[in-house]
Homo-oligomer: 289 residues x 4
């Protein structure tokens, strides 16, 4: 996995916030809880695995008990959350905090260290993954705790709005890619605030532009949407290939060439940033209602 790279980049202050699928975060918890995952062969007989209670993620194998125990941890953690809608950054910070307290090896967990370092983590698909599935069970049990995707849209937009320069490293594509990029159209198209687009764009992907989808879409296409600044287009980079090869290279290069930076601890500043965004939005309304 790429957790080690992300941990290092966060530690050095090179990661201000993260947008992830829920599955990446759910399986990250196994490491903090010191559960056993095994490297296997992707050609293993899956019917036999299923009979023996073994789960496969490509070439990673583990017992289904790993799922059940992680689920139990998540549900226990939910008990200390409020009974109303929250952002996914709050959910993930809370899970990370619980891992720091209860986890055997929180130092191997992105969720735990992000909580320690106040790096907010969002997911663009909050119901999709075993984390969301357990919060859904919680709802069946009568809780009014839910995850508020709009809070996530507004928080990420507020972060981007506040920054002088914005940029991203995209691993893969999919919904998290757009969730970051859309913060710029959220400003100009929806809220009437001019910002001009992101400044930096590095994508590592196995997708291709010719399928026409967003995952493989070029930074150039993003310029037409006001997602990327036109004058920065020459410096955008798309690496075609596997993140598990490219990110370790980038990480090794970065930590050997660049000085660590103070961490921004944006998780603690969400309210102030939202207030700023709100104020700019109200001002913009005067000129474009």
């Amino acid at each position: 996995g790429l957790g080690g790279c992300v941990l290092t980049l966060m530690e050095y202050g090179f990661v201000d916030f993260i947008i992830s699928t829920g599955a990446n975060l759910y399986h990250d918890m196994h490491h903090a809880l010191a559960m056993s995952l095994h490297r296997g062969d992707f050609r293993t007989d899956d019917t036999q695995l299923q009979e023996e209670g073994v789960i496969r993620i490509y070439d990673i194998l583990f017992e289904d008990k790993v799922l059940l125990d992680t689920d139990a941890f998540v549900r226990e953690a939910l008990k200390s959350l409020p009974n109303h809608p929250i952002s996914t950054s709050e959910l993930h910070h809370h899970l990370g905090t619980q891992l720091l307290q209860a986890g055997v090896k929180p130092e191997y967990s992105v969720l735990a260290q992000a909580a320690a370092w106040n790096v907010p983590i969002y997911t663009s698909s909050p119901g999709d993954s075993s984390i969301g599935m357990n919060v859904a069970r919680n709802a069946l049990d009568g809780s009014l705790l839910t995850l508020d995707p709009l809070a996530d849209v507004n928080e990420t937009t507020a972060i981007v709005h506040h920054a002088t320069r914005n940029g991203v490293i995209i691993l893969g594509g999919g919904s998290p890619k757009n969730f970051y990029l859309q913060t710029q159209p959220q400003l100009w198209e929806v809220l009437g605030i001019q910002k001009g687009g992101h400044d930096y764009f590095i994508q590592i992907t196995a997708d291709a532009p010719h399928w026409g989808g967003l995952s493989g879409a070029t930074p150039s296409e993003a310029v037409s949407w006001g997602k990327i600044k036109p004058e920065q287009l020459r410096d955008t980079v798309v690496v075609y290939g596997d993140s598990t090869i490219a990110l370790p290279l980038l990480t090794a290069y970065t930590v050997s060439k660049a000085q660590p930076r103070p961490r921004k601890e944006l998780f603690l500043q969400r309210k102030a940033l939202l207030k700023e965004l709100h104020s700019a939005y109200e001002t913009g309304k005067l000129s474009r209602p």
Copy 2:
């Protein structure tokens, strides 16, 4: 686009429910509102497009006014929604109903016809797309309306739980793929209800298994997760290629070979199905708390 195929398959009663990205649904609205989209060349100069206010999605071009006017339609529609969390099926049904009333050409819109035929439409990433972005602005304006991903998890699981046989046609991959497949682990892993996995699985994708991600993961891998029934594995199909080639072929074949079926109108049955799921969950708790 593939809207025509989906419309035909819904009309014939071959689509019980849909899980989509928000972007597909947002851009579907342009058709109902008779806005102008143009086929162009994917090599058009995006900096020039941006200067002239033209948006590009691969080889589709349209004025940014299309976005602004669709946004205005969405925000107007939000006014008649309740001031609390709702499922995305409710949001999409409401937007579809508004399109039926106000749209110039609702017959070209999946959202509109799905509302007419009571086909529920979910999205696994409710904040990701201009639909979510406008609901987020609504929240900045003080509304308590939000989208509840847990309601979506529970509704989709309830539909799958109720059915005698379950199956899916997956176009692409990403978050919507898992959001459907996870309904089976939601039953056995999280809610303690044995179901055994889905019965049918057809995926049309440009992704590949060897990258290790969920989009390209094989139906065989899904067997290890209890997402697909092992005895059905031989009948699962993965078509490697472009959905815009494969789905029209499948649609033409289907409507020429199979009789139409009565539409299930699952949108109207969500409460009853949730009640059934809840009851099975409570029963299951007795044996596995």
Copy 3:
């Protein structure tokens, strides 16, 4: 396989000549010889297959006896070929003629029907495949028969030189793709004859431009080489996907929309065309030595 499509397109006079890998032609012979090939599963255990003498080509399975018997047929056919270098069009025409005489089902064989209809077939890699391997054994036995790649370069260039308009349908990419396209640089760059590039270009490929190789290279890149006429670039087409889906669609469309054309029988005209090319080359030498 795609043999049926190629047979139909040849029959209708839509194929003037073919450039193929040797493997496609070698395995085509099994059909003429009525040997048994079986559709299987690409996940079959290959070590077990090898122990049982079964050969696998993705999801096609057959006994190794199929190879040995086809090899014997090829070697028998070589006995009636001359003892000096020949073009691969001569080799393939000879094999096709032998299949017409000895084959049980020559009507299912591209090699046989191409011989019947005098469609010349070239390969850009004459030693690569079991055909070349058996000719190599023949050489070990002391024969001076060999395959002359330069004869192929000159014959294909002569065909293109003679035509008023040139075009190609490329299935896949690789060495055969360039072997066709290079006929234009052979004219202007090497022989000093101006022609201006090919007129039509349709490629069906699973490759992508961003890897930088020739297989995935765009028709636009080919324009810079003088391989494609710049003014024809707008009409070039690249279909990303599987030839086994796209070619049957193209074939069905073609035979239902277009009238058959008289076959050109270029195999019989090779000498005349070479003479024409030679003459143009000598003329060109006067202006550019």
Copy 4:
């Protein structure tokens, strides 16, 4: 380009022989001849490039004069070759030798250094590339010099037959991939000599197994053909991605971890190896004619 990696690996004695496309070797000559190639942008307007006489290979740009001058060098070199069929290893060794004598920077050329170190270089498609195109012009001029693909089949098979262990690093796929792998079936299937398959197999490719072609075919499929030893299958490796990322990593790892080996200078041993192969073939004939 990857020339630097190949030069280093040859220097350290890690490369016994090479199978390449002609294009790689042709463009390698520009370096020895100190011609100017430029890194550009793959989105450059190709019609404009063509008008200005600039050739593009993805993001490499150079004047068409580079082609014409390299062609002239090739044709001059052909004058000192014999007037009959030769193997491509002889052609490439001769070109390399001429580059060593005439080249300004032969130390940057794989062809030149391979000649210096007696590493034989083969191509599976001798007529495909500007090298073959110029030899074809030579034939139009009346020369009987041609390239003998069967000599290449027999020489490569002889090298593999002699070795105690055989293995390959495959960059990409295509015709060169099979040309190496087929040496094993050439032994057992065509010549009746048992060897058991190759021992090592590392492929770096952007292709995928599911298209069914040879480029993306797995080492497992090769086991069914007797191309790879079944007991070595667990150690075969396929890296999905770009050779320009993976090979420098492999090269750096190799030269930092492994001791240089004496170079085998197989180019000088071809006759002896062919004699050995011939003798084994004659012996095998006694048991299987």
